[in-house]
Structures are given as C-alpha cells and as structure tokens.
C-alpha cells in the first residue's frame, strides 16, 4: 500500500527494526520496534533515555499520575523508554498526520505494599490495576452538563473520564512471563489507551503503555473518531508486544520462585454495569464535540449522534476478545447486584473513583 487513508491509516513499515535493550538492576527487557516516525507529540526522543537503571535509586522515580494534593498515593513510576509512530492518510489532502501511536515503558514502584505481599501474586497485580485507576486521571470523573441549554441550571454532574478496564486478560508471552492486559475507552478527549503489566520484583512492575491519538477533521470526540478504525494502530502494538522478552535478574527470579500462585486461579478487575451505563450517556453527550453536522446550524444546533448508535458502539466495544497467549479472560462487565459482598472488586473500584 503506497498511501493510507482515513479508513486505513498507514503506519511505519515492519521491515527495518531496531532493538531496545534495557537493564533494570539486572533484569533485562528487550524488544524490537520500527524507528520513530515523526511528527509525534511533545518531542519524543527515544535516545535521550538511558539504558541502565538502578531500581533502588529514588532519583529516577516520579509520582505516578502527577502531583495532586487531593490524591493520596504511594505509586511511583520511572520512565525507561518512549517512542511514537505517526500514521498518515492521503498525501496533502489529509496533511502530515491523521493519527499516532505512542508507546512508553516504565517501572512502577509500589511503595505501600502490605507486609508479606508481592506483585508476583496475581491478586496484587489486580490491586495495582486498581491503583493505576485511582491515582491517574484514567479512573477520575469530570464535570458534566445538563441536557438542555438552560444557563440557570446549577446541577453539578459527574461523568467518568474513561470506560475502563475493558477486555482484561492474563497472557503468557515469551519466556513464561505472565502479563495482565487491559484497555480503556476514552469518553471525552483522552486518547484510547492500552496497558500491559508484568511483575519484575516484589514491589516493582514493568508497565508498557500505548495510546492512540486520532487527528481527524470534523471529529473532536472519541465517538466520531471511530470513523477511522483503530485496527492498524492495534496491529502495530501487538506486533511490538510479541517481540518483548523479559529476563528476570537472579534475585528477582528467586523472589518469583518464593511466591506460589493458586493453580488456574486468575482474579480479575472489570468495569461495572453502572459504569457502562454512565459511559453510554457520557459518550453520547460529548458526541457533538468538535463535530459539525451539515444538517444543523453551525451555531446553536444539536450536533450529537443518535443515542442508539452510541449505545450500540459501547456494547460492541466492551465485548472481550482474547489476544494470542491468553490464559484467562474476564467478562465484558460485572453486575454489582450479583456481588453484594462489599469487599468484592467492582464496588471497590466504584468507590475509589
């Protein structure tokens, strides 16, 4: 394919790859990616990050999710690698870009780990996924607005930022390494996100995070952006993740060997039916953002998409689809009513959000 188009964005070629080798206190992380394809956001320079890290050095970490006094948290992250690839459409007509995929790899340091717990326990990884939601904007709510245009309505609405986690699954990849994977569907103006996590120590976790921005004309919200399918971006991500090899250091291997996970037991964290319902409304309400419907007056018209279309999209989006190497996959969502126990996972998330 010489040129791409909106329906089929053209990314980097998979012919020439370069190796990324990172040494994290003896643990060797290795992957192959195509070289950077500019332009991509905020000056990513893959060579500016060092190749060796001492995980016990506090200097390399920053608070995960940024400084925010309102959030109490003990989750830190160190960036170890970052790269991005531009996706193009028709030359000149679509300009220099119609989207991009940005990938980062970081080490998460969980400093408030309970005694005798370890990230090598699957249940702790599930806790970490929750922690990622509560400490970053991913699991937060934003201010919504009313249906009509009454300027005197002072009701304050709270709408979720993202529908997450979706398609949660446990995967086994190269070298017997276990990953937990989940996706986030943005509801307003965040990019689509994909998370891959694997433990590399009692309190350290390797997180590979991908996000997809789609820069389309007349599509300023996640629903309208669906016009340009995400498949090509996702393919590139999966190809990259297939090349990832994590070789644990000796001490980390010993740590891993000291922890026994119950055979065949895979805990999950999923979005709830309430969140799905809220997401349908939020996505519908924002579906006029940055979008002009030709049949409506530009000023003062209602440019939102039909409610049913948005609901159908969400219903289709939350369906689980296993990736290669899938060990176990969660349901599309969990219903709160069926799990009245207060300690159950979904309610814990709902409360924390």
């Amino acid at each position: 394919m010489l040129f791409g188009n909106e329906k089929h964005p053209k990314g980097p070629s998979w012919r020439r790859l370069y190796n990324v080798d990172k040494y994290l206190s003896g643990t060797h992380v290795q992957l192959k990616t195509p070289p950077i394809r500019p332009p991509i956001p905020d000056g990513i320079d893959p060579d500016s990050v060092p190749d060796e890290f001492d995980l016990s050095d506090p200097q390399i970490y920053e608070l995960f999710g940024g400084q925010d006094k309102n959030k109490k948290q003990d989750l830190y992250r160190a960036l170890i690698w970052r790269n991005g690839w531009n996706f193009t459409g028709r030359p000149i007509l679509d300009g220099e870009t119609i989207g991009n995929l940005v990938a980062t790899a970081s080490v998460l340091d969980v400093r408030d780990m309970p005694v005798n717990r370890s990230l090598f326990q699957r249940s702790e990884m599930v806790e970490l996924v929750r922690g990622i939601h509560t400490s970053s904007d991913l699991g937060q709510y934003h201010e919504g607005h009313a249906e009509d245009r009454n300027p005197f309505d002072l009701t304050s609405y709270r709408w979720p930022n993202s529908l997450s986690p979706l398609n949660t699954q446990w995967l086994e990849r190269n070298n017997g390494c276990e990953w937990i994977y989940f996706e986030a569907q943005p509801l307003c103006n965040r990019p689509a996100e994909f998370y891959w996590l694997t433990p590399i120590g009692h309190q350290y976790c390797l997180m590979v995070h991908f996000y997809v921005n789609r820069w389309l004309r007349n599509a300023g919200n996640p629903f309208r952006e669906q016009r340009s399918p995400i498949d090509n971006y996702r393919d590139l991500m999966e190809k990259i993740m297939e090349t990832v090899v994590v070789e644990l250091s000796e001490s980390a291997s010993l740590e891993k060997a000291s922890i026994a996970n119950p055979e065949g037991h895979y805990p999950f964290v999923n979005c709830t039916d309430t969140l799905v319902k809220e997401a349908k409304h939020t996505l519908y309400m924002w579906s006029g953002k940055g979008y002009t419907d030709e049949n409506q007056p530009r000023q003062g018209g209602d440019h939102r998409a039909p409610k049913e279309d948005v609901a159908a999209f969400i219903d289709q989006r939350i369906q689980p689809h296993p990736l290669p190497g899938c060990l176990a996959i969660g349901p599309a969502y969990v219903e709160i009513e069926k799990t009245p126990n207060c300690n159950s996972e979904p309610i814990a998330i709902a409360n924390n959000r």
Binding site: D42, E96, N150, P151, W215, R217, Q299
Partner: protein, 424 residues
C-alpha cells in the same frame, strides 16, 4: 440558540422595550421583557461563587460596557447589516442597535438578542479560551471540559514579570487537542528546557475553530495578502481583544504566541485595542510563529500599544507560500519594520545607529537571506537570493512536519530527510 428557558414566564408583553438597570451615567440600555428577565436572573446568578457565577458576571459586565462612550473592543458590525452590531464573547453573543431617539448625538442602546453560546464553545465550534495541561500518561489535553470565560493567572503562571501567563492562538487546526499539541511546541520555541517547564505549568489556548480544510485555510491568507480572516477568525479576534483588555485591567504580564493564521487574529485584536488608546506599559508581548499575516502591521501595533519589544526575536518563520506572501511581504517585512523604527521611534542620537542597522540589514539580510523583493529591485543578487528563496519555499511546502517549530529551513529539510529515510 436564543430561545429562553421556558421556565421563565414573561412579566409583561414581551415586545415592549424598557430601560434596564440604573442609569447613573452613559447610555440607557433598552431591552424587552424577556431579555430583562434574563438579565435579572443573571444578576442573581452573578453573586454565586461558581463558574456559572463568573459567566454571569462576564455577561453583565459586557452589557454595562455598552453604556460607555466608545464601542467595546469586542464589538463588531454584524455582517451585511450596517446598523446592527454584535458584542461577542466566549460564552455569549449580544446583538444590539444604537438608536438616537431624540435626534441628539447621545444614543441609546437597544438589545435585540442575547444568545447563549456556551454549548458551542464547549463543543469547539466557537472560539474560546481553554486551559491546557500536560498529562504524564497521554500528553497535552484540555484541563477542563469547559472553556474559561475570563483570562486569569494560574498557580504556576502567576502573571507577574517573572512568570508571565502564556497564551497561544492557533491557526488552522482540525481539533482542540491537535491545536493544544501544536501550540505547545511553538510556545516553548522548539527548546527542550522550555518545553519541560511548560509541561509543569501548562498554558492557555484561545482556540479558533476552522471551517476550511488545511489547504483552504492557507489560501484565505494568500488571497488577501494576509490582510483578511475568516468569519471565525473575526469573532475570535474580538474575543481575544476582550481578554487582552482584561489582562491590561488586571495588570497581568502576558506572553501571546500566535501560530500561522492565528497571527491575523492576534494583530486584529491589537488593532481593536489601539482604538481605545491603551498603554500596556510593556506588560504584554507577542511572538509570531509562521505568521500568515503581516509582520509589519503587527510590529506597528505592538509599538502603538507600548508592548514589551525588548526581545530581539519576536517572530520565527519557516516560509511556506502563505507565510511568505502574507507574513513577510515577499521578504521586505524586516526592512519595513526597520524603516518604521527609523522614522517614528528613534530619537536624534539613535538615528545613526538605526540607520546603520537599516543599511546593514538591507545589505545582508535584505539581499541574501530573506529579501527577495528588494533583491529583485536592486537586481544585483537576483540569482542567488531567488535560489535561496525558492529552496526555502520548496522545503516549507514539503509534506512534512509543518506544524513543528523549526529554527531555519535547514533544520526543516533535515527533519524531512530524516523522515524520508525512515519511511523507506
């Protein structure tokens, strides 16, 4: 838009005009009953400590500004209607007429319509001021889901001399998010250190939506030699003028950065302010990046308004067709700016220095680097300068990273070649 909330019953026959508010000085404002009701409701709302309260205050202030002797900076003639005027702001639009009932020069203001435009601004179909933040995980995104009605300092940018408020004005852009990303590069001037500190402080963006495609937007400024904008840009310039005036009244230090057609919006806003004889006391400064409108006009305006002009560089251009025709007048803009400097702003002692500078510029920059037109006139350097000019236009027109910040055409060509190499 323009419909009133149905919950509000009209007090009297809604066509009768009545004076609204107390008339202590200035013109009287006449409005029909439903608009009066609306304004009274806003007056109540304006006492609330909330974003809606601020919105209401902005609206009331705007209505009161109509009482003044001169037209407010954010007013404009309604297109195709000679007497009807529009007062535009990020969240609303007031249509009014100036009447002279008694044949005197003292006129009254008749409010024809008040239209709420908050929804349109929120949905990015109308220009408005947004706060942009850097999210560690996903890059530059709007901080809030609603635009701001007023220009205020943020905790990280206090608006004093040491940390001025940074505001960007975008040119053609397909989305708010895209504009935020592009402007972040231009506000940090392609400098890594500045980019890092901008990520901590965030910035504000006057988002100007565009109805055209990228090529169409470029053509508007070429066709008009960079002297005219689109309807959206005209509205945006009034909103920007209001924010500029607001910053002046609050004494904030502001750094405005305009990208491409955004330069026209910025220049036009400055022109609105010049009619009010405002002295900005060097508290605000501008930077034009790849400007598609005239540097010369912008330069005159910033001197008239007494903006901060101490920075040696206040524009940066990777010359594409629009930038060349509209922005630099085919290369003579630096010379024209110097001529202005020489004629109007140099005292006798400085004249020699400026004249020397002028000659030097004409000799070096004018002829060799950027001054194609002067070069053609003086014929001596035609082949060389034309070749350079042609090359730089060609480089800038390559389907490459035009939205990035480039320090010179060489850098631009370099990055394009690097991309080409990586593609294949």
């Amino acid at each position: 838009m323009g419909q009133l909330p149905s919950a509000l019953p009209p007090v009297q026959s809604s066509s009768a005009l009545q004076a609204w508010g107390s008339r202590t000085s200035g013109r009287a404002i006449f409005a029909n009953a439903s608009h009066q009701q609306l304004l009274d409701n806003f007056r109540q709302l304006s006492t609330q400590q909330s974003s809606e309260g601020y919105h209401a205050q902005t609206l009331l202030k705007a209505v009161d500004s109509l009482r003044g002797p001169a037209s407010p900076v954010n007013s404009m003639l309604k297109p195709n209607q000679p007497t009807r005027r529009l007062l535009v702001a990020g969240g609303f639009e007031i249509e009014y007429e100036l009447n002279s009932y008694y044949g005197h020069c003292q006129t009254d203001v008749e409010i024809v319509d008040i239209r709420m435009a908050k929804e349109d601004a929120r949905e990015e179909r109308r220009s408005a001021l947004w706060r942009i933040k850097f999210d560690q995980q996903v890059g530059w995104i709007p901080e809030e889901k609603e635009p701001r009605t007023t220009l205020t300092a943020s905790p990280a940018q206090k608006g004093n001399k040491e940390s001025p408020v940074k505001v960007g004005v975008n040119g053609h852009s397909r989305q708010l998010k895209y504009a935020a990303d592009t402007l972040s590069k231009h506000i940090s001037r392609g400098d890594k250190g500045k980019a890092a500190s901008l990520q901590n402080s965030g910035f504000q963006l006057l988002y100007v939506p565009s109805t055209n495609s990228a090529i169409g937007a470029e053509w508007v400024s070429i066709k008009s030699l960079g002297l005219n904008g689109t309807d959206e840009q005209r509205v945006a310039s009034r909103i920007l003028a209001q924010h500029m005036l607001e910053a002046y009244q609050k004494g904030l230090y502001i750094e405005w950065t305009a990208h491409k057609d955004g330069a026209w919006v910025l220049t036009e806003a400055m022109r609105q302010l010049t009619t009010q004889r405002i002295d900005l006391q060097r508290k605000q400064k501008i930077f034009l990046s790849d400007a598609a409108s005239s540097h010369v006009v912008a330069d005159r305006m910033r001197h008239t308004l007494n903006m901060d002009t101490y920075d040696s560089s206040w524009h940066n251009t990777a010359p594409g067709p629009a930038q060349l025709v509209g922005g630099t007048h085919l290369g003579v803009a630096p010379l024209l700016c110097l001529v202005d400097e020489f004629r109007h702003r140099s005292n006798a002692d400085e004249k020699f220095g400026t004249a020397g500078d002028l000659l030097w510029q004409a000799g070096t920059k004018g002829l060799v680097v950027s001054g194609a037109a002067t070069a053609i006139i003086s014929t001596a350097g035609v082949p060389m300068s034309l070749a350079l000019l042609g090359a730089s236009i060609l480089i800038a027109s390559l389907p490459s990273a035009r939205d990035d910040y480039f320090k010179n055409p060489g850098q631009q060509l370099g990055s394009w070649l690097a991309r080409l190499r990586k593609h294949n």
